[in-house]
């Protein structure tokens, strides 16, 4: 396996960053895998996040059956060095307890709730011990029918991180506070999808807020793990119908990092082209939806009318408007012919001109300004601690962009394609609007460059897939329209046993399947900080603040639950569930 990690970085890692490391293993691109002892992870998190200014991309766990669990932390060091650090520690199967990193940084809190819920690993001293995807009330006490512990109505038992003292989960007592507690959702015209935002209002003033997601949980991780590499990409694409291209790209780059893929340049250009077209349509869509959220039907209509032009290009290239279906390991399945590229490129100036006229007019509208200036504030410190990604972070003057931070994936190479990173220091709704508006033009620039390449050249579009070494690991990062998208994969073949296979369906045991795939979507992070932005705003601003993160709940709620909640919800307790789930993996 080739590696491109600089030896000086390895040295720096071994001496300064993780002297506790037991094992160092450079992976493809700029990833380094380090194994440490479980006791050290909290200490290391403190050092990475507080001292070195790294970002916790995601925290997740992998079930290794008899060998216990692996807990995986992925840190992004891009502000210091060209490095993504994968930190792994083993967890004992019989006594699965890990120290909480959520106490150090809020970035880990949702991830830890997820780990607790799905793998049955207990997190010691986590700030917010409620359910993430299951209903808060689950499981109910069979005798009284009242919610048992871990429900919304139980006050948080442990203290909150000192740096983000405001972030307390709402401890609402149903007897006293119901009158002013307004659950927005699951069905609410402001948000298409199902979620519940609990806001406690004093008149029209929001004094407390909490968000509950999980209605959308579809078990995507499990589905991909069962389907294998080639079929999994179609599921990955359908995690989200708006940023499907970003999911496709992240999936294939992640899977290609498992082996030594040499993807043809033309294929990479096509991939980049589609991701950027996807971003253009997604941002235009957002501006339209935001206009609709503040009650401006005209804004919605005219932006969506323009969006159709982008959709036409996408449809001509891929054959579908939503799920492009061209992603394959080692390339793409469809070529963009030279005539098509030329034709598409001719429409770009017209599109650009229409957008230059329209978008400033929409953004500068005085009533729009009145609705966005100062609404939903999020300072840089809050954004950093909460782990905001994408336009939300960039609107808080935080210059992160996975396209730049992650070394050339797809065609995001400054030598081949030029683009700028848009940042804004308004730290509010206005900033988020402006960032998205400007990014639309940046993306159109990239689209133009890709088309210029495609209309001049021809070439291969797909490399023959190769064998994947069992047990290898990879991280795929990609800038989705809503922010950094994270994929973690571990190839099957070592630990994977028969339970992964539906009986009689697959002849090859393990070798063609993934042991684990973990997805962390941008909305997952941005949703976690919505309560922060909501507190103090007016009720009328709640939909637009929620909309300002461009939240995509289909993305947020993708992960896997071990046990089926509906069938046994009256007989199981939490402890029993944990025991059961672990038993099931063990047997």
């Amino acid at each position: 396996m080739t590696t491109s990690v600089d030896p000086t970085i390895m040295e720096w890692l071994k001496t300064e960053v993780v002297p506790e490391g037991l094992e160092f293993k450079p992976l493809r691109e700029n990833r380094v895998l380090v194994r440490v002892k479980l006791e050290d992870v909290a200490k290391l998190a403190e050092r990475f996040v507080k001292k070195l200014g790294a970002r916790l991309s995601h925290e997740t766990g992998v079930d290794r059956e008899q060998s216990g669990f692996d807990i995986v932390y992925v840190y992004d060091f891009s502000n210091v060095k060209n490095l993504v650090l994968i930190l792994e520690a083993s967890v004992d199967r019989d006594n699965p307890i890990i120290p909480s990193v959520g106490k150090v940084t809020w970035q880990a809190v949702w991830a830890e709730r997820e780990i607790k819920e799905f793998l049955g690993i207990n997190v010691e001293g986590m700030p917010d011990p409620r359910h993430q995807f299951l209903p808060y009330e689950w499981p109910k006490n069979p005798e009284t029918g009242l919610p048992s512990d871990l429900s919304l109505y139980t006050p948080a038992t442990t203290g909150i991180i000192p740096t983000s003292a405001n972030w307390k989960p709402i401890g609402i007592d149903p007897t006293t506070a119901r009158s002013s507690l307004l659950p927005i959702g699951p069905y609410h015209p402001g948000v298409i999808e199902g979620q519940t935002v609990y806001v406690r209002v004093d008149g029209e003033h929001v004094i407390d807020a909490d968000i509950k997601t999980g209605y959308h949980h579809r078990g995507i991780h499990r589905l991909i793990e069962r389907r294998g590499y080639n079929k999994g990409v179609f599921v990955a694409e359908r995690v989200c119908g708006i940023c499907s291209a970003a999911h496709g790209l992240a999936y294939v780059t992640c899977a290609e990092n498992l082996y030594d893929a040499e993807v043809p340049e033309r294929a990479q250009y096509i991939r980049t082209l589609l991701v950027e077209l996807n971003r253009v349509q997604s941002h235009i869509l957002w501006i339209g939806v935001a206009a609709d959220l503040i009650g401006w039907k005209t804004g919605f209509m005219i932006t969506w009318g323009l969006r159709e032009r982008v959709m036409d290009i996408i449809e001509a290239i891929t054959g579908n408007r939503v799920n492009y279906g061209i992603w394959r390991l080692g390339g793409v399945s469809r070529d963009v012919s030279q005539e098509l590229a030329m034709k598409a490129r001719q429409t770009i100036p017209g599109l650009k001109e229409a957008l230059t006229q329209l978008i400033p007019a929409v953004v500068d509208h005085p009533v729009v300004k009145a609705r966005v200036v100062g609404v939903g504030p999020l300072t840089f410190a809050q954004a950093f601690d909460g782990g905001a990604v994408g336009p939300v972070a960039r609107a808080s003057n935080w210059k992160i962009d996975t396209r730049r931070d992650n070394p050339p994936h797809a065609m995001y190479d400054p030598r081949k394609i030029s683009w700028e990173i848009v940042v804004d220091d308004h730290c509010d709704m206005l900033g988020r609007t402006l960032v998205r508006a400007k990014e639309t033009f940046v993306s159109i620039g990239i689209v133009d460059q890709c088309l210029a390449y495609l209309e001049k050249t021809t070439g291969e579009i797909r490399e023959k897939p190769q064998t994947i070494e069992p047990g290898s690991e990879a991280v795929g990062l990609n800038e989705a329209p809503r922010g950094e998208l994270f994929y973690y994969m571990r190839a099957g073949g070592t630990d994977v046993a028969d339970y992964m296979m539906p009986e009689g369906k697959h002849n090859v045991q393990g070798s063609n399947l993934l042991q684990a795939v973990r997805i962390r979507t941008p909305s997952y992070r941005n949703n976690a900080i919505i309560p922060q932005m909501l507190i103090g705003s007016a009720l009328a601003d709640v939909p637009i603040v929620m909309g300002s993160t461009d939240q995509c709940l289909a993305c947020t709620d993708r992960v896997e639950v071990i046990n089926d909640k509906t069938e046994e919800s009256h007989t199981l307790t939490w402890e029993e569930l944990v025991r059961m789930s672990q038993k099931r993996w063990r047997s």
Partner: protein
């Protein structure tokens, strides 16, 4: 006796006329907004191949909406206060409906010859909104309650403006009979007291929930506001009320400010032009504005209603005492 008979007959004729006028106003409003939004809107001439199935024209689209709603089930939520919940749509509709008899049509005085028809009309128009709020508040839905609260806030502002605008005209014309105001000789009130016209226009925006001021029915924020729990017959009544309110407010505006246009049926073309101009302005404002956030909207609206109210009052004083009209 002949007068009474004549009035009765005209009143009977007026019902379908006002209904169709209201429906047409709503249609025009929808059609114009659609055209401003780069689309077609309710289609005037149906495509030939679809005409057998979908009808030849959709000029009466709002009427079809209302008729369809009458043919649907009418849900009444269990948690609502049923009597008020059921009664308020009827009362609101009745208020807006009765108001048509007190506002003159070109050449047709109806009941507006009554001495206090201005007062009665203003009462009825206030009542229509009040019963809407009452129904929303009794629906038991949190969204209905919030919609009702917002409606009350904005209602308090525009009703003040409404009364000021109405009585300023009455004071200058020295009469509270709308027919007398309408047939008053001399310059129309639009030129004499333009501030009152602007004030009434602002009131119309609030009362008809036109875009920057439709916080009470804010879709994305509070579902459908006051109408969230209403369906079927009740919603149809509210829709009818809205159509009549459209007719009432526009007719009232023309009566008060373009006075002499109503003295004879021959003025009908001028009346129609005035209606179209008014609808055009209303539509342009609707399509060009997002909704205000409630607090900011209130302060904006309150400020301008206050400013124009004061200007109107000053103008009335000037007209009454220094410039004998």
């Amino acid at each position: 006796m002949v007068d009474v008979l004549f009035t009765a007959v005209t009143m009977l004729i007026m019902v379908p006329v006002a209904l169709f006028a209201g429906i047409l106003y709503v249609f025009l409003f929808r059609k114009l907004s659609a055209r401003f939004q780069w689309r077609v809107g309710p289609i005037v001439r149906m495509y030939k191949d679809l005409a057998p199935l979908l009808g030849t024209s959709r000029i009466l689209q709002p009427l079809y909406d209302i008729l369809k709603l009458f043919g649907k089930d009418t849900p009444v939520p269990d948690i609502s206060r049923k009597t008020i919940f059921v009664a308020s749509p009827y009362l609101a509709f009745l208020c807006a409906f009765l108001a048509i008899f007190f506002i003159p049509f070109p050449g047709v005085p109806l009941l507006s010859t009554m001495e206090d028809s201005l007062v009665i009309a203003s009462y009825l128009l206030i009542g229509a909104v009040m019963f809407t709020i009452l129904g929303a508040a009794s629906s038991g839905s949190p969204w209905g309650a919030i919609g009702a609260r917002r409606d009350v806030e904005i209602f308090l502002i525009y009703e003040v403006g409404f009364v000021v605008a109405l009585f300023s005209v009455g004071l200058v014309a020295r009469s509270l009979s709308l027919w007398e105001i309408a047939t008053r000789p001399g310059l129309p009130m639009l030129i004499l007291n333009p501030f009152a016209a602007v004030l009434l226009f602002l009131v119309i925006l609030g009362k008809l929930a036109i875009k920057p001021l439709d916080m009470a029915e804010a879709e994305a924020e509070i579902v459908a506001g006051p109408f969230t729990e209403y369906g079927g017959k009740h919603l149809a009544l509210f829709q009818l009320m809205k159509a009549f309110l459209f007719y009432d407010m526009i007719a009232l505006f023309i009566t008060l400010f373009l006075g002499s246009a109503l003295s004879s049926i021959l003025w009908l073309p001028a009346y129609i032009i005035a209606v179209i101009v008014l609808l055009f302005f209303i539509t342009v404002i609707q399509v060009l504005h997002p909704r205000f956030q409630i607090a900011k909207g209130m302060s904006w609206y309150g400020r301008w209603v206050l400013v124009f109210g004061l200007l109107t009052a000053i103008m009335v004083l000037v007209l009454r005492f220094y410039w004998v009209v």
